[in-house]
Symmetry: C3
């Protein structure tokens, strides 16, 4: 009984993780009107961050950050799946991604990093995956993660 988007995810070899619940007084997502507003997702995978630090600090590379951004996007989709009651076909479009990359002042390729998330949205949703966004440098991110991405999605009313 998988939907079209589930089929597309399978085709892409993406197995959505269980959507992690926040450990505090906030929610992974809120629906207001026909918008799902998803909390900033960090690149947790299997309960762990593969790398920590800031790009440009001598240990974290741009390629590391790109890989982490993709994990954030996968976590956004996992949350979105819960928000749609398990039916990602209810998603009408990706409205916005807000991307933060933990950056030393010398690292200025935030757009290239966040592209990994933007690309995934388009791979999964096609044209409906195209979105507005920002991509900026943060001095530090939660638990030392390298990327954090929030998202707004439009769903069927």
């Amino acid at each position: 009984m998988a939907g079209q988007i589930d089929a597309r995810l399978a085709e892409l070899g993406i197995d959505l993780p269980d959507a992690p619940a926040p450990a505090a007084n906030y929610l992974p997502w809120v629906i207001t009107g026909n918008l799902v507003m998803i909390s900033g997702q960090i690149p947790m995978a299997g309960g762990e961050l593969a790398i920590t630090g800031t790009v440009g600090d001598g240990t974290v590379t741009e390629d590391d950050a790109i890989a982490e951004a993709r994990k954030c996007a996968i976590n956004l989709l996992a949350q979105l799946k819960t928000a749609t009651g398990g039916d990602l076909d209810k998603v009408k479009r990706v409205v916005k991604l807000g991307g933060f990359v933990a950056s030393q002042p010398s690292f200025t390729m935030q757009p290239k990093v966040i592209n990994a998330a933007s690309d995934l949205m388009v791979e999964v949703f096609g044209d409906a995956g195209r979105h507005s966004r920002f991509a900026v440098g943060a001095s530090a991110l939660p638990l030392g993660c390298v990327v954090e991405i929030e998202g707004i999605f439009e769903i069927e009313a």
Copy 2:
């Protein structure tokens, strides 16, 4: 003639300050549809910032930042009270908080800091206070303040 939320604030011992007006060409809040979008609030209290700096700089501690985040949340509520014409019972839910913590690269507990604001929302509004959010590090914040938080709230149409 105090409403339920006013009574709850009194119970919590919270005396909302006068909502400060911005000193420039912007507004403390805008209502669009049934959403109130509140400008980033800094931890001004009594016209002053108790502390300035960035967490991890040797002078500002995590506990300092937590105290400042709570002040930001109180200022959000003060603005929200004005936006609802004085009647906080018109608030249907807290939709989103966007939290910035002035951080050195070594400080990565932004979520714990912003929890102080999230907790206050739930203390005041109960389950309707739960919200989506992001919590990130900023290299610097206005006037040297330690925390800045913006908010989106849903009100009765």
Copy 3:
């Protein structure tokens, strides 16, 4: 056949550039309901950034940043013009600006920088140009630009 806002732009001596298309899988703007959500704009003018760096690094001044913020605002208007099918008179109000200023920890006048964008909105749209906003420091911004500003605008349904 210029509209009122076009006339006002001419009066202000502002010639909107062609709205640049993003170079990746995202869009300059998305319309959801009666809101236009515009991607973070950087101060590109004539295909170039006049200055790069972070305020407080010894090369970029506050005045530099103010000039760059105004260019971001002009680029927001250029995107908005496309989003409204060329008719800026369809804009009902400016809802929100989100302003990031590339800042060393010592630079804390982000509001003064973003005021250049806020002021432009009010010059162009009058009272409808007043908006909610945040202004924060980013450790670094795309391509080394000094300011990035995203915007939300309400248009006629």
